[in-house]
């Protein structure tokens, strides 16, 4: 039975007399990797620190493994919660070797067990060759791996990572993300990851929680967050968006400048003015189409072009097209909307 590893109920977090987070509710199942996202100062770090126990909550309950760790009356200290932490500045112990860093949290085990566990993790993270080096002698990427190994070694109930990849360059990020996901899954570690990079979130997580305005706006799989964002902010956050003006025709159709588009309009009333979320991949280049738009900008991405197009009524939308369709600025190209389901917003979202 997949128990809830972490349960957050009606949690309110206050920092220096300001309410940062108000009424947070969510739960993470054992073994899940969840990304915590949102604009800066949206409270991601405070939430993590409260889960770890560096901060206490103003109201609500945090339960780990069904045990209350903080309900404002009971408070279990950090050193007793067995949560693993990885900070942005890594904070490796400079006076200890890689191996000694990794086994640091294993002081209750025998020397044999410590070494075995460390060797296992070093192997999984490809850092066996540097086991006797000191942190100042290894590269940034390697330091990152050591930090992970150190946090995971004592098999923490939850692993909390605060922007672990932000300091790395693209290439390192790729390989590291893969290795980490592998090791987390192998160890069946429950993890919460703070990141501001949608790509990281998509790659690593089972679920994404989006924080805004002091609460969780959406808690869903990466796919759903991308394709069914609940607000314009979320939509913007996770990809390039354009919003096309539309009017509700009936329960199954909307009217736009690109013509009538089929889709579910249940939530809205006939005749209402709405906005349709358009992702660049929702528009395809079709020379046979009746509708066309003028190219106003283009960016080369290797396999694709991202075209910025101006429609008849001067609205702008984006379109991904395979790059062998090389059109110049001011050219008119034929386009066709291919939208699976309608994501509609009125002005409030």
């Amino acid at each position: 039975m997949n128990q809830n590893k972490l349960q957050i109920e009606s949690v309110k977090i206050v920092l220096e007399n300001t309410t940062i987070l108000n009424d947070i509710n969510f739960a993470i199942k054992s073994g899940e990797i969840v990304s915590l996202m949102g604009s800066s100062a949206s409270g991601k770090t405070s939430l993590i620190r409260s889960i770890a126990g560096y901060q206490n909550i103003a109201s609500g309950v945090i339960k780990i493994d069904n045990n209350i760790v903080d309900n404002t009356k009971i408070f279990i200290g950090v050193d007793k919660r067995n949560t693993g932490v990885i900070f942005q500045d890594l904070a490796l112990f400079p006076h200890l070797t890689v191996r000694e860093n990794i086994i640091f949290g294993l002081y209750k085990k025998t020397q044999q067990d410590k070494n075995n566990r460390a060797a296992q993790l070093e192997d999984m993270l490809n850092i066996s060759s540097i086991t006797n080096r000191y942190p100042h002698q290894i590269s940034g990427g390697q330091q990152q791996r050591v930090a992970i190994a150190r946090a995971i070694a004592p098999k923490p109930t939850i692993l909390l990572l605060d922007e672990p990849f932000s300091a790395l360059d693209e290439e390192l990020k790729e390989s590291l993300m893969n290795d980490i996901k592998y090791i987390l899954k192998k160890e069946a570690t429950t993890a919460i990851l703070i990141t501001h990079n949608p790509k990281e979130a998509f790659t690593m997580s089972d679920k994404i929680a989006f924080l805004s305005d002091g609460k969780i706006c959406q808690y869903d799989t990466p796919y759903n967050i991308y394709h069914k964002p609940l607000s314009k902010e979320i939509a913007n956050f996770f990809g390039i968006t354009s919003f096309l003006k539309a009017t509700i025709k009936d329960t199954n159709h909307i009217e736009t400048v690109l013509g009538t588009i089929f889709g579910n309009t249940e939530k809205f009333k006939k005749g209402e003015d709405v906005y349709l979320l358009i992702r660049p991949d929702d528009i395809i280049h079709d020379d046979n189409s009746t509708e066309s738009a003028r190219v106003v900008d283009k960016i080369f991405y290797g396999s694709d072009f991202l075209y910025k197009l101006e429609l008849k009524d001067k609205q702008k939308i984006y379109c991904y097209t395979p790059s062998h369709h090389n059109h110049s600025i001011n050219e008119n190209i034929g386009i066709k909307p291919v939208i699976d389901h309608l994501i509609l917003f009125n002005n409030n979202l």
Partner: protein, 540 residues
């Protein structure tokens, strides 16, 4: 053209090397002389005391200053408690009071002119009780005085060591299950270990070199022994013997400190550091920390200051302010002059080493930077020795009426200051120049500038703040210097410290108020600049 400069540099370096080495060599060469009767007397009766006392004092002061310095640095870095922000830099301030000033002040506190005595006498009529309660003039008193005077050096070094690592490191420790005490012992102490070692080495060196405090308190140590055998017993060779022993111990200490510091591993590998998040203490325990800081600060600064002000309050009218001002002038002029010389000299040396790191240059700079390790008393006798010998030999060689050429002039004094205080200036410039990437030099040469022009057009402008710091540090060190000045000063020359020494000798403690206060104010200047600098650097 290039060769000429290299040759000139070599010449200059050699001259200075000779100035530095000859006195020290003179001391060690003396070992080969036969032991005099006085030495045998010393060996039999006094050497034992010198060794035991020096060991006890050094050991005790080292331990106390480490405990004080580390604990204070720890609590002001890790915790929020009432006054923590202000105590953080206040606790450095006691550094401005030289140890001997503290010695005189605390000796006077329970005497008839002291605040403690008068408080008890005035309000309780119990002056006699306080007068007899304790006598600070012994080895235990010396330990206490040196500890409160020297702990700031350990404290000062531990602060950036802790600030260099944000408390992520401790929070990680927390998450890995360590309680507060374990975090201190398994994480905190190891990472400030180099700072502790550097700080305590310095403290030990200063303790071994301390003369005036020991002499006033009647404690026999190497420093007093060296002085006494030369001037009281009249036996130079014994003095040199003792100096050799002391210098050997100190050089060994310096060597060990260098080795143990070697590893760069204590630097934070990542350059970015998130600011320290301090733990807010909620219980009444936080007041204990405030009180602790307050007590140490009082002992180190407030109480001495109050005693000085008290002395001033009833001597102010009879104080010959002109005399004090003339002392100040003497102190300042010689200090400024010497600091200029020292700065010019050390910037040359640092630059020579930077531009051409030949073995000779490297060794030279190492030798030249050991000057600080030589205690003032030893240095003074080391300078007198060769000079007297020269001045008495030359007349015979060149057949003229014997007269003093250098004795009785400022030259000896300045040479001794140069030897002792070049170290700090040299190190300041070394680190300052290191921060300037060699690329600047290359670009400059690329534009056709010579090494010299590069120095003046590129490096000096960047180094200006460093030059100021070096000058200030040397200036204050000279102003508060005592043993060398006492022994080597020329005619009509008196400084604030020497005047204080004379007052103490004639048991005229109450007149120390004004000169003592002025001396402390001068010494405060660099301390405040230094502490502000450190606090500012940390908040970056």
């Amino acid at each position: 053209m290039l060769n000429k400069i290299e040759d000139f540099n070599f010449f200059i370096l050699s001259v200075f090397l000779i100035i530095f080495i000859v006195p020290i060599l003179f001391i060690f060469l003396n070992i080969f002389n036969d032991a005099s009767e006085t030495w045998i007397h010393i060996q039999n009766y006094l050497l034992h005391d010198y060794i035991i006392n020096s060991l006890i004092i050094v050991f005790s002061v080292a331990i106390i200053t480490i405990l004080l310095g580390t604990s204070l640095a720890w609590i002001v870095s890790m915790y929020e408690f009432p006054g923590v922000r202000i105590f953080r830099w206040l606790l450095i301030i006691p550094m401005a009071i030289p140890a001997y000033v503290n010695a005189y002040i605390y000796a006077g506190i329970n005497e008839t002119s002291g605040i403690l005595f008068n408080l008890f006498e005035y309000y309780l009529g119990m002056g006699a009780l306080i007068y007899d309660l304790y006598d600070i003039r012994n080895i235990y008193g010396a330990i206490v005085i040196l500890s409160i005077s020297l702990y700031p050096y350990v404290y000062l070094l531990c602060l950036p060591a802790l600030a260099n690592h944000s408390n992520s490191i401790f929070e990680i420790g927390q998450s890995l299950g360590l309680n507060r005490f374990q975090r201190l012992t398994k994480i905190g102490l190891p990472i400030i270990r180099p700072a502790i070692i550097a700080g305590s080495s310095f403290v030990i060196m200063e303790t071994l070199a301390e003369y005036a405090t020991m002499q006033y308190f009647g404690v026999s140590t190497f420093a007093t022994g060296i002085f006494r055998s030369w001037f009281v017993l009249g036996d130079e060779s014994s003095s040199f013997f003792l100096s050799s022993i002391l210098l050997t111990i100190i050089f060994l200490l310096v060597y060990f400190e260098q080795i143990s510091r070697g590893s760069k591993k204590y630097n934070n590998p990542l350059n970015k550091v998130s600011p320290m998040r301090k733990e807010k203490l909620l219980t009444n325990k936080k007041y204990i920390l405030s009180i602790y800081c307050f007590i140490i600060f009082s002992l180190g600064f407030m109480i001495p200051l109050i005693q000085l002000l008290y002395w001033i309050s009833y001597t102010i009218q009879e104080t010959d302010i002109n005399f004090i001002i003339s002392l100040l002038k003497s102190s300042s002029v010689i200090a400024i002059l010497t600091s200029i010389i020292v700065v010019i000299f050390t910037i040359n040396v640092a630059y020579i080493v930077r531009t051409s790191s030949s073995l000779f240059n490297k060794i030279s700079s190492k030798v030249l930077s050991v000057g600080y390790a030589v205690p003032g008393v030893v240095l003074a006798v080391a300078v007198i020795g060769p000079i007297s010998w020269i001045e008495n030999i030359l007349p015979e060689v060149f057949n003229y009426e014997p007269k003093s050429l250098l004795t009785g002039t400022f030259v000896l004094l300045i040479i001794a200051y140069l030897i002792r205080f070049s170290t700090i200036s040299l190190k300041t410039f070394e680190s300052g120049l290191n921060k300037i990437s060699k690329n600047y030099d290359l670009i400059s040469y690329g534009f056709g500038l010579s090494k010299l022009q590069t120095l003046y057009k590129v490096h000096l402008p960047i180094l200006l703040p460093t030059i100021y710091s070096a000058m200030i540090l040397v200036f204050v060190d000279i102003v508060k210097e005592l043993p060398i000045t006492l022994i080597l000063r020329p005619f009509n020359f008196n400084t604030l410290p020497v005047y204080l020494y004379e007052l103490a000798e004639s048991e005229n403690l109450s007149s120390m108020g004004v000169p003592g206060l002025i001396l402390i104010i001068i010494c405060l200047i660099p301390v405040i600049i230094l502490s502000k600098g450190i606090i500012k650097n940390e908040s970056k």
